[in-house]
Subunit: 490 residues, 2 copies
Amino acid sequence: MAQKYVTRAEDYSKWYNELVYRADLAEHSDVRGCMVIKPYGYAIWEKMRDILDAKFKETGHSNAYFPLFIPKSYLSKEASHIDGFAKECAVVTHYRLKNAEDGSGVIVDPDSKLEEELIVRPTSETIIWNSYKNWIQSYRDLPILINQWANVVRWEMKTRLFLRTTEFLWQEGHTAHATKQEAIAETEQMLDVYEDFAQNYMSMPVIKGRKTANERFAGADDTLCIEAMMQDGKALQAGTSHFLGQNFAKAFEVKFADKEGKLDYVWATSWGVSTRLMGALIMTHSDDEGLVLPPALAPIQVVAVPIYRTEEELTAISEKMKELSIKLKAKGISFKFDDDDNRRPGWKFAEYESKGVPVRVAMGPRDLENGKAEIARRDNKTKELVDFVGLEDYIEQLLADIQSNLLQKAMTFREENTREIDSYEEFKKEIDKGGFFLAHWDGTPETEERIKEETKATIRCIALDRKEEPGLCMVTGKPSAGRVIFAKAY
Amino acid sequence: MAQKYVTRAEDYSKWYNELVYRADLAEHSDVRGCMVIKPYGYAIWEKMRDILDAKFKETGHSNAYFPLFIPKSYLSKEASHIDGFAKECAVVTHYRLKNAEDGSGVIVDPDSKLEEELIVRPTSETIIWNSYKNWIQSYRDLPILINQWANVVRWEMKTRLFLRTTEFLWQEGHTAHATKQEAIAETEQMLDVYEDFAQNYMSMPVIKGRKTANERFAGADDTLCIEAMMQDGKALQAGTSHFLGQNFAKAFEVKFADKEGKLDYVWATSWGVSTRLMGALIMTHSDDEGLVLPPALAPIQVVAVPIYRTEEELTAISEKMKELSIKLKAKGISFKFDDDDNRRPGWKFAEYESKGVPVRVAMGPRDLENGKAEIARRDNKTKELVDFVGLEDYIEQLLADIQSNLLQKAMTFREENTREIDSYEEFKKEIDKGGFFLAHWDGTPETEERIKEETKATIRCIALDRKEEPGLCMVTGKPSAGRVIFAKAY
């Protein structure tokens, strides 16, 4: 661990990039904009996926799988959808390669040109509604509550690991309903699922809100979101849930007969979170020593490092650790005993610190004699000597403490970096320092655009629980019904 | 259920296609060769995935994720790999669409042409070994034991749901080792994992064997496989495990320093199973009434249907079913109580029969009075009146019986349809009847090719446990060391 890493204060962006490599989470591939998610990073993503998947199933959803490719013409069917998504896409134009005649390798066979190009899905509304069309005839076929775990591709010019990559992994829920109210309730329910996941598993506080028309999903009547604050004060949109109205049903001619036999278009929602959550997780908690993980998402929750000189010492410590392992396992706590003889304890300490393992147990010959172990918390770096008897209960409680401490800390940070602001002059001066700014806005896209152009800040959302507070737009002085949240964002 | 379905005897192929729709497993999408896996089909695939995933982890593997796209030039790096895979591929040539000037929709932006085309992965050896190159310096970095769950694309001209689709889901293990022996042991271990899964979860007997040079994976030194027999006597390759030698290490220049500091190329394996297993599962057990599922893979293991006229009867039955539900849940048995008032019991019986639910519980007022329930097995269609007291134990045992009965039945079927054959004349007459033919072969690709051309039968494998039995090739009369398995195959 001789390598010197940059700190958050020195260069936040570089700190992030270094951390992703240092904790062995992911790396850039040679394919422009695509990442390799390494085993440790993928193990965290798997935990996220499994927890979310269970919540989707609890709320009545099933998984299914739709094609990777979307015929180009489908994207044109929903008018506003196309403006949002039919831009930077990977386009499949041919289906065969052949050997070059000069033996130089393979070339695309010109005879294999597709009649209609296929787009690698940037999101699946169109291909899915094209199927739903055949699945829905009557109210008895509704609701359809389907989720898909998949890879999607959006051709990004500027990419960052997890935060913005050309290919990423995500889940996309696509539901169909007989009534508007039911679809709106679904949109809200899934936002609540995301909030619950963010706060109680990621220990990441989020604000539930509504996007402005400008920031809405292409094809949605309403976009709800959860917004989080990163440690540099920037906002990160961590999940969205869209009420799609009847837009896709109309685009794909999906009607159903109600109980009276009357035909109407179907109501829709879609909602998703992606591997972007990995970036949010990293930037919410981690510090200059590396990753900090909430226990609920840590692939290894407890690591034990033996400190010894002789074989006998190692054997004695190993026995104790085996005991501990069994007791922790019974509690569903994941545990790793690292007795690799090729690495010194100091190296291991730094390694697991980098990787964000929440609790470290160290035991040396003297600890063994005294019936104690040294317990170190990753989150606040405190250490304590704890009796070996009952250690499993101590650790269980400690993991719960760490989980809630991380949430509390992030909550406090967000509060300290959220302020009301009424002067646009001050706003322009302050916005670069980061944080959430609660300001009055006149509700027009023009003012929103102007602020974005002049400051690069956007309206992150109109909080669902904002207080009604009549005021005057900080830019135009026109009336406003309440404050909205401005911030610079990832 | 007025619809009349074709039987296996009438038209096996049509029976299969109808069954996939009838059981609501999957359907063709409008994208040529790509399928939609519907919720019920996906639920079975999820069970397969979760069981296999646990087995991969038990044997020390971790999951990771590599890019969907492979630069065209990578495919050329391994000489025999390119012949096998750089043929029917989806080729991405552009990365942007734009609005057509005449307003007719979107067109591919000619300015967005990629310098080097990207291939949608048909398999990931090349992109993965391009990463491993950077991960491996010394023996300390080995072994690498990684698996990936992903979608892959092979442009197929003739497709069938699950069995052969342009896009399919699979897992691909890619491991790197310091020694040849270790890589071979890994290849064999993973074949054993597949065999265990096929036999003990799918109730599908398989023969472990070795592919001939002709049928080997493109880039492998040795391909091991599991071969199953479908009910029409055709063979289905259900999984493969490849010893890749140093071929990919050489193609991507991946060397490691051993303990003495000597450099050598790394040894590799890869192994995979896909959604094709769904096809194998269907064709191994199902009958003219629909899907038959082994309990270990059934999304619903037990379904209960109430038979009633009055509300009071339904209430009384529902209470009993609630009791049963709790007891079955405690045993980890999945249970559905279908009290949908819009459907009659007969309709429900047929529906769950179609879907292969292993055990059906029916209860009417008289059963209730007598403290009994009618228990129907899906596999052999027997019915029995069973005491309600202790019913959960009865069902638990029944599920185990069904699981082993299905395996036994399939095993018997395979035995009855496997025969030794010594005359090529007879072989040519018999081969169309289906089944496995054990015949002597002179070991040359020429003879293998000739048999394939003349009969469409291929050598499925050389069984790993075949007895050494010198003989004479049925075609050329040249010497042979033992019999190999011929069959027509999916």
